[in-house]
Symmetry: C2
Subunit: 261 residues, 2 copies
Amino acid sequence: MLSRNKSKFINALKTKKFRAETGCFLIEGDKLVSEVLAGRDIPVTELLSTPDWLQHNRFLIHEGVDTITEVSDAELRKISSFETPTGVMAVLKMPSAEYREKNLAGKLSVSLDTIQDPGNLGTIIRTADWFGITDIFCSQGCADCFNPKVVQASMGAVLRVNIHYVQLETLFEKLSQQNQYVIYGSYLEGTSIYELEHTASGMMVFGNESKGIHPTLKHLIKIPVTIPSFSSSAGHVESLNVSAAVAVFCSEFFRGKARKD
Amino acid sequence: MLSRNKSKFINALKTKKFRAETGCFLIEGDKLVSEVLAGRDIPVTELLSTPDWLQHNRFLIHEGVDTITEVSDAELRKISSFETPTGVMAVLKMPSAEYREKNLAGKLSVSLDTIQDPGNLGTIIRTADWFGITDIFCSQGCADCFNPKVVQASMGAVLRVNIHYVQLETLFEKLSQQNQYVIYGSYLEGTSIYELEHTASGMMVFGNESKGIHPTLKHLIKIPVTIPSFSSSAGHVESLNVSAAVAVFCSEFFRGKARKD
């Protein structure tokens, strides 16, 4: 049974402030929760599930699961963000993400300047994970990656990629001091991504959905890069969606690697 | 002033049934409506705007604008899908989209099997438009491209791309009879997209967000294609988001063209 306190706790986790205070966040739905449990290496603070879900998935429960609370379908509907809940939610501890600038050399990372739409942020994290990117740097103006909508759109990739909220200007200044470290920026004007000589290393920077990359970062970006449009009505098309741009950049940076392997 | 009848009409246009009956759909927001008006070639059945918006944008009004209704901010909030309306909405006639199979030869088109999420569908249409794709074929199970959420996510690209709702199996059967016409399908297993010999022509097929391409279409797909994952945690990553997959496919099919031009 769901106590009033637990119900309050779960609902409070939908706010960024309470997530920051507790270091906890929510994951939801049979698919995502099952995947996390099957991995067995992520501690689960709380599992809230219907008796039916639990009966069918008891084999997934491992010693890292701290508390299990059985809830009715009606109780789950009250705390769920899903229109049709699928039997289970869980509370996890936010993974801690640390980095050293020098360890970023030789691999490709992503920086996001004020990506505000949770769906975009989640999709970007999912795409980055697919291409094996291990570190994403977000400006403080980005959506919170532990927002339930981001977690869901990322299909759990928030648990696999290290996501750092930083002052991008400070980070880029430090990285620029490293020999041969290249910071690429996604712009409407710049070198065509198809003409670029690149290896799968450096930093790819993407800007806000409507305003692009903040002007104060411009001088730190070594190569402005653009994805050329092939549309005959190009004048009318303002830009690609930022998550589509991330997919194209990642694919183009890694394709050389794929052909060599 | 907004009459009760007009308010009912606008709200009814949020349903697929009423859009189909009337052949009309809604566009919303200063950015999109301004862009459509500036193009001057799209007839506008109704423009609903605040006096303030109209005062600043009167130069955009052209003879193809049929009716202008001034509405108050409060009235606009009642009919708007935006949390913060930006002064204007419009009713447009759906563009008619026709095609002949033989005209598809030599160019690249997209088919979508049961893409249900409006945000995904809109983003895919926007991406396709960016890459100059002129025809998108949707199975009847796809979201309606004139759903306000799709129109918005497409940034108006629904007006620039011809979108056809068809029986994909019938279409593919006809196309397969054409010499050298190639139908590519996006799968988790198949030829790596980076190893594929391709030109910017043929049909790219993408399937449902969780179920992929329907098995009944499989025998009509000549080349199953996959986007390889570079993630070391690949076992955990089920797939790329379908709109990210479309971006990667389009980029990879057109990059040869970009380098030759």
